[in-house]
């Protein structure tokens, strides 16, 4: 049988209450007593039963998710995953509330974070907009002892406890190699469609992509980035325009959202040409395009995994517990038409 608080109490010759005070580092215990108890804990090899503790405390974890109000498939998916987590909330003693704020709007994000500083939830997960004022607001929360994790997009140099998202530089590099190898030494231009160079994940993907293309596929040259604001209409116009003007395009890398527009443009303007296309995020649209051959590979991040991971990490931080690293590493999923889930 696992040792319990009673065993510690007996071994240390004190009462349960004192053991509890030591275990929870509460004040009001003489130094010597504390040491006695701590020794007993160590010698006996005690590990606290978190479930019992939570039961006794009636503890629940009020968490807040701050999500951008973006109208694209990926964000809808992320939202759905958060709602799924809310549905499971009673089981894991969490109480998840979500706040929607305008996308790409640091001020709104900061306002929300400051409000939460008052409210003091047990943890906060946010899709970060990479701006200094956001970083400051996050750092203040961390200083005040509130666990914070970034979701999907990280926050440069901030003190957030954890990032639940993929390595976007690696994603860009991977896209480059896939495109380069699939093109098999061909010469020509590569068009890049992004959402906005103001968000960190897009910048990082481009950075990784450009680096590998330059170093390992010198016969390819990258055209100036098209910024489609993750908007299907805009993406369509930009890509269609580029395809008609530039005859030398052999490949496309779409590193943001709004792929619906991209796909439409590809079908309209390049059905005849054999472009190689790599895009991000598996959605109904990109999936269909992968199957019909319009897209050759899709890089994806599993929103469900990201949300569950964020919750596990927030919980662990709230309890001062360790996490299983391997379980919290968000993988870059690569989908070809052969391994779709």
């Amino acid at each position: 049988m696992r040792p319990t608080v009673h065993d510690i109490a007996a071994a240390a010759g004190v009462s349960l209450a004192t053991v509890d005070r030591v275990l929870n580092q509460r004040p009001g215990v003489r130094h010597v007593t504390r040491e006695k108890v701590e020794n007993a804990i160590r010698e006996i090899g005690y590990v606290r039963d978190v479930a019992a503790a939570n039961l006794a405390k009636g503890r629940t974890y009020p968490f807040v998710f701050i999500l951008p109000a973006s109208d694209n498939s990926f964000m809808h998916g992320l939202n759905a995953e958060v709602r799924a987590a809310v549905a499971r909330a009673p089981v894991d003693r969490t109480e998840i509330r979500t706040i929607e704020i305008p996308a790409f709007d640091p001020d709104a994000l900061v306002a929300a974070l400051e409000m939460l500083g008052e409210e003091r939830p047990s943890g906060i997960a946010l899709v970060a907009t990479d701006a200094p004022e956001v970083r400051e607001a996050v750092d203040k929360l961390v200083e005040n002892g509130i666990p914070v994790v970034t979701l999907v997009s990280d926050l440069t140099g901030s003190r957030r406890h954890h990032y639940a998202g993929v390595d976007n530089i690696a994603a860009g590099r991977t896209a480059a190699r896939l495109l380069g190898r699939f093109l098999g030494g061909a010469e020509g231009d590569v068009a890049v469609l992004a959402g906005s160079m103001l968000v960190r994940d897009h910048r990082e993907r481009l950075e990784g992509f450009a680096a590998v293309i330059a170093r390992e596929f010198p016969s390819l040259s990258i055209l100036p980035v098209l910024e489609g604001r993750d908007d299907p209409e805009m993406a369509y116009m930009l890509v269609a325009d580029a395809l008609s003007k530039k005859g030398g395009i052999v490949g496309v890398y779409s590193l943001g959202a709004g792929n619906r527009g991209l796909i439409k443009a590809l079908k309209a303007r390049a059905a005849d040409r054999s472009l190689t296309v790599v895009a991000h995020e598996l959605t109904a649209h990109t999936r269909a395009a992968l199957i019909d051959g319009t897209i050759d590979a899709i890089l994806n991040q599993d929103a469900g995994h990201e949300v569950r991971s964020a919750i596990r990490v927030l919980k662990a931080k709230a309890d001062g517990l360790a996490v299983i690293d391997g379980q919290e590493r968000i993988r870059l999923d690569i989908f070809l038409k052969d391994n779709l889930p």
Copy 2:
């Protein structure tokens, strides 16, 4: 506040004990009483607090993992993950015991399973050898109400509750497309190195691989499969031999273990040639080979995920609870040198 057993008792006008009997479908309750309680449960929207129940019961989950005593990196990794789970056991109330049996040995496996039928653990996870007698033994366990999940390799047509592993046909198909696209329309032979055609995962990988090559890359032809018994020495000999005899080899697909030998052969015999190589399982050896360019892509299954998933599923089955499907789908990881973890 979530409703508790007290609320049900009050609403139904019975005692806690009766509520409990109904909740746990224990006998000794009149039909009418049972109905009263069941109605109350439904109306109130009660969900049982599993943690509290486990605490009261002092419940632990004795699980058994049956693993093959194979001496390759993948199995070592799997073993390590099981040990890591054992280390976490106190926290999740599991008691995991592992049994090692000779690899590729249906009889030994059946013997172990029959023994466990007596012992009646709360759940069993096994790396299945695909044989009819194994299937029968598994089905008998399932009939006797013991949760069973297959790990890494599945069992054809059996009634196991769940399979914690990748879709190996899809893995083979993916390998084929990667190889085919990377070769960019080149003509030539493809060598395939397997462990044994007696295990289902290897057969399935080959099946998927051959299908896509035949359908979509007709300029490639697959040489007769080399069976290396997942043994580095043997793999070395077979591959070295094939490379020196067959001048037309342009690609290699290694779908089993024993890649240490493969890599050695490639370095010795094909350093000059530009072979395209796809292999399975990320280990120290394959990782190094991916980085130095000897291997072009690695397909992997995350052993840690598989073990954790198996445990979650066994627990859920033992409690008659549902699982989160997305969380239990084991992905096929694709690694290029750019997205190594």
